[in-house]
Amino acid sequence: PHLRTFTDRFQTCQVRGAWPLIDNNYLNVQVTNTPVLPGSSATATSKLTIIFKNFQECVEQKVYQAEMDELPAAFADGSKNGGDKHGANSLKITEKVSGQHIEIQAKYIGTTIIVRQVGRYLTFAVRMPEEVVNAVEDRDNQGLYLCLRGCPLNEQIDFQAFHATESWSTRRKGPGTPVSSPQVFTYETATARCKEKLPVEDLYFQACVFDLLTTGDVNFTLAAYYAFEDVKMLHSNKDKLHLYERTRDLPGSAAASG
């Protein structure tokens, strides 16, 4: 998947399997990413777990879980709010489009979360106060907290290198090819298709082109489009909505890699 971190770094990553996106004193978010084609290192999110931790007299611990083709509009226990505590309505799930778009307001920590299903895969977007982002117990082992630190270097995918090395066999139709990918795109046709939804050639546009070239699944055009819509709604700095610089290094490893 493509990741935009809390510090506005934009990366495309493998991160296959279960990875923590957010892990602080109030909230845990974990995603499970699966290959978009058999044998491909390009992955997309097929499962998402969000744990709202017990918070004083506001909310009890609540778990939200979404999977492919299952985007519930309630927490795992069937409720839509923070439970029985006095401030229970400071946590609320709202269904925007049934089965496609839900929004979770966690007012007690000033946080808004959007989860969507686009095509077969899930997308995630969050707006959170910096103070909450950094409220972590022990800073040292937050290395895998992708929203904060980005992807480890060896999990990052370089666009150009990817298409040069990923064998065509993984892209040809096969039992695992997504049903909705009737065609293989050339760079020109993918660019034209993405331009319909994303007129500005920023990194969201490039992500769209990459996804079409990788999977041929036109739903990924919508995934990039909605991801940018979520940025417009959630990002507090309107001057930073479009990103053009791809980031490859982690601050620490950048130094190490010299």
Partner: protein
């Protein structure tokens, strides 16, 4: 990893209508012990699973909060909780439950950040 099964069994055991107990009754400790027993059964297959580790920590907290002993009956009790609809009517949640309200009064507005994950 069957941690979600354990989670839903605990939620089911502590919600419903045919046992009018509260979190301070022995039945709550029984439910917690059953929950702990269930997580231990699935520990091996759940190694590294975030929901599993969070459940284990949650159980420890609740057991110490409610002075539950580790040994004792583990049969499933049934406790009653308010239906979600009712609790939504309470709009007078304490100020601490409203981040922005409690924030603005005595300092600059919070600085918000965004994180997103999408596509492949």
């Amino acid at each position: 990893c069957k941690i979600l099964k354990c989670n839903s069994e605990f939620w089911t055991a502590t919600s419903g209508t045919h046992y009018p107990g509260s979190e301070d009754t022995p039945e709550f400790c029984t439910a917690l012990r059953a929950y702990s027993h269930c997580t231990r059964r699935t520990a091996r297959t759940c190694r590294g699973d975030l929901a599993y580790h969070s459940a284990v920590h949650g159980i420890e907290d609740l057991m110490s909060q409610h002075n539950c002993s580790k040994d004792g009956p583990t049969s499933q009790p049934r406790l009653r909780t308010l239906p979600p609809g009712d609790s939504q009517e309470r709009s007078d949640s304490p100020e601490i439950c409203h981040y922005e309200k409690s924030f603005h009064k005595h300092s600059a507005p919070p600085n918000y950040t965004h994180c997103g994950l999408f596509g492949d």
